[in-house]
Symmetry: D2
């Protein structure tokens, strides 16, 4: 298949059946595509096979399909499972769409490797959690060869409600993803500090977050995290402090590579690290609010 | 008039006819109230008189109405025009509603002075700019004696779409106002840093802010300031860097009074101070984006 | 007396007999000067009178001597005791040397007031604590009319080992004093963070601070505070966290007046505020080390 | 050779003949030891051979001496030249003393590799530059098996004036080295901010740094960097901003591994990154002062 090939995509390799990968693969199956799935552990493969997927005989087998989508956890996973395995050397696919949140450095490295082996490479990280993926309502941040993006857009629209075209260099999509996550972290820290401030004056946290979201700061981030911060509910975690720290570090690494100081990232990094130091790493990153409360000595005051 | 008095409020003193005060006084007139207006300079008084307001013979005359609303610029203004003039000593009003953004410290001081002179005191700072005031669509953050708030709510609803009841201590309303403004400052800094990051990867700023507002961070703050930051438009200023710095300092002062560290406030304070140092004090506080670009040396790169 | 007057200074008014003022006044007496002392409370006056000082009949009496030295606690004290009392209006002194640590803003204001009343004004804050004052070994940071500084240097050398001439504008001396104190605060924070880091690796804090002071960071600040931080000894306080916070704020105010961002000041400010929030305000400001240990969750780890 | 072996050390492999390694190897030669030298490039080997060193036939040859000292540039160098080459597999040395500044993570990894291959491993990073090394006046921060340290101390005292014993885990020495460097960075930033503050009041920078070093902050760091900052001399660089940034990152990485927030490190990191963004990466890290001046807009003021 080449970017100009008019045939509808139908034969897909799908690598990485984690929390996000499973509902995404399922949507491809539901749309009638042939999906050859591969995962490091067996159970998710069986689950998808029961829904009509073809279990790949090997990772190489998955990379023998014309189009490969992957949704691996992070830089480490993709390094270990794609780069270190040498699967690209004899891969028969035409294009590989990496939908994971990886670093911009990893994106640059992957793009070079694929180029070397004559395989198209798109970065297409997504905004949205598992339930959004299941509903096909993800935002897909795509970057890479525009012809490939154009060619694959109908397929990607099976997975998301919108495909954002961010330019010809794949790492741009990862930069944008990481910048958005960074802004979410900043918003949580902002809510946390503001709540500590008003709490010190005796204002109910829930009343304050209602003012906030009903006036100038509406939307899912302020509503969701405002709610968690107001009620001091950090478990079960939608997204853990530990993963949040990892995301902030992606922003810091991307920025450092280009000599862009990000003061807020340093601040939020330290606050998340403090959360980990206090044993809150597996709690929702809204636990930043407890870090703000610790700073203000609220426990010591009572 | 006492809080229990069932008579509709109709005889109002209004002090401070600035950018916000004028449209507010006008709405009271339009609603049929008798409004006695006072302002340090004469022109706005004449403007309102032409619309049916009664020019006050003196500040004392304005404070002789049963209900006095004031919309003075800041702590300094209210100190000079209300505290230092001694107008409260012989004031005949029953209640004074201070709708300006003043410090929590000033609020505490004002509450004490009014109590001493037997006058009710409400803090009722607002969210919204002049055009919102003209449309009667402000959010009014009210705190003080709940009976007075209840009694005056119909009147306040002439000015705003919603009256938030934030508790019996007036300074709470000022704490909430200042906390919301602080969060807006944080959001602008967050947009600025994120834009510097993606710009360093060659992503169009306007494309990034569109992703941001169409996905997880919608709403007026991100839309407005995202637009200004993307287009690097800082004039005419909706709200200047100089005023923004003043607001951040209100948050810092309120927090310091209660021993609440606010790391983000320190960071945004320094960024705004840098804006002033570069001669950008009268530009819109979205100019925080240029501070982020200076840090990243974008001018030096070209 | 004028700056050109060749007569040795001998008739001195001394205002403010606190921890620093007492040993300073005593040194002037020991050197044979006539010292007319005034203090808000009576006990220190009696103490100095027993050593040969002349008790002033009033503040005005002290300001009737040709040379007045004052060592009041801070801006508030000097405002209440000098500006608000109107003592300058009929003061007969030729020159007033303000040796207290006041803000640069206060220095500007005082200089203007003295000029208005035809009185010379020098700022001469000092480096050194009470025992250093008793030994006449202070460093005196002097600024103001160079003729006056030249004229009074012999007198000042009774109090200190060296007079630094910092220029014709009095506020410069206060800027330098505040900058030095700010650097001391930074050094304590630096020691605190570094100790938290090595402690997390199991290195004895005292061993680390010995390495530090015996290699690249010798001197009284690192030795004194290294010792306190290593042994976690915060009482009795040589200088409290509360006073440290006040000094950091002087630096912030001086910097803000000139649009100079000081990121380290914001950071140390927040750390000291956290100390106050935890009830450590009256402990030595070396307690910054406990703030660093709190951030790192050392208590939670054990 | 074992730790108990009483024979004086005489047969040494020395790996890495850079700016620091050359004078160190030379001192060993001057003290009469047999030194087998190895370096990636040939010129320094020839230089040392002319002074009596034995050129190693290979890296393996150097690692065949009973005691190996190495002074490679950084983590990358030691990884590429020691770990990746597999030289440890058949190394005949009894102990390897790594005198380079590497990360604590790298130290842990190296310690494990040496243990696996039955080779003693000491971390012994040094404080002092090339001229200090030439004078044998380094401070040697040693950690690892205390028997080895005891055994090698006479040899190390050929290179330094003092051997600090920092405990049995090698990474502790690296933690201490990195913490000291971090404190030096903080001191330079502190000087830079303080100078910007006093400069804004018209105080001569050189006068201020003289006050600073002659009163409470003496010692080589404040004197050296005070001088550079006062005179705004950043070339030739004693230590570049780029290397300074690398060192700050070592502190951040060590701290992050143990969940220790270091706010000052974040701040100095961003300031150094800003220096790089402005093209000052190869200037002395005293150029932090220009970053402070940029923040304060001094260029824009003139």
């Amino acid at each position: 298949m080449t970017p100009a090939d008019p045939t509808p995509v139908a034969d897909i390799g799908f690598v990485g059946l984690g929390t996000m990968g499973r509902p995404m693969a399922r949507r491809l199956l539901d749309a009638g595509h042939r999906v050859t799935v591969w995962n490091r552990s067996a159970a998710p493969v069986a689950e998808l096979a029961a829904l009509g997927a073809v279990p790949a005989a090997s990772l190489q087998d998955a990379f023998a399909r014309p189009v490969v989508l992957s949704m691996l956890a992070d830089d480490d996973s993709i390094r270990r499972q794609v780069l270190d395995t040498g699967v690209l050397v004899d891969a028969e696919c035409s294009v590989h769409v990496n939908m994971a949140t990886v670093s911009t450095g990893c994106a640059l490295e992957l793009a070079a490797h694929h180029r070397e082996h004559g395989i198209g490479y798109l970065a297409a990280p997504v905004l949205g959690r598992a339930e959004v993926a299941a509903a096909g309502a993800l935002h897909i941040l795509a970057a890479g060869d525009p012809q490939w993006i154009g060619r694959l857009e109908p397929l990607l629209l099976t997975l998301g409600r919108r495909v954002w075209r961010l330019g010809p260099e794949p790492e741009r999509a990862n930069a944008v993803k990481t910048a958005v996550n960074f802004m979410v972290a900043n918003a949580i820290e902002s809510i946390s500090e503001a709540c500590a401030l008003v709490e010190s004056f005796g204002v109910e946290r829930a009343l304050f977050t209602e003012v906030m979201t009903e006036t100038v700061l509406p939307g899912p981030v302020y509503t969701t995290y405002g709610g968690l911060v107001a009620s001091r509910t950090y478990q079960p975690a939608g997204f853990t402090a530990r993963l949040g720290l990892k995301d902030v570090r992606l922003a810091q690494a991307a920025a450092a590579a280009n000599n862009v100081p990000l003061p807020m990232a340093g601040l939020v990094h330290d606050a998340l690290l403090q959360a980990l130091a206090h044993g809150w790493g597996e709690q929702d990153w809204a636990v930043l609010s407890e870090v703000a409360r610790t700073r203000a000595g609220f426990a010591a005051r009572q």
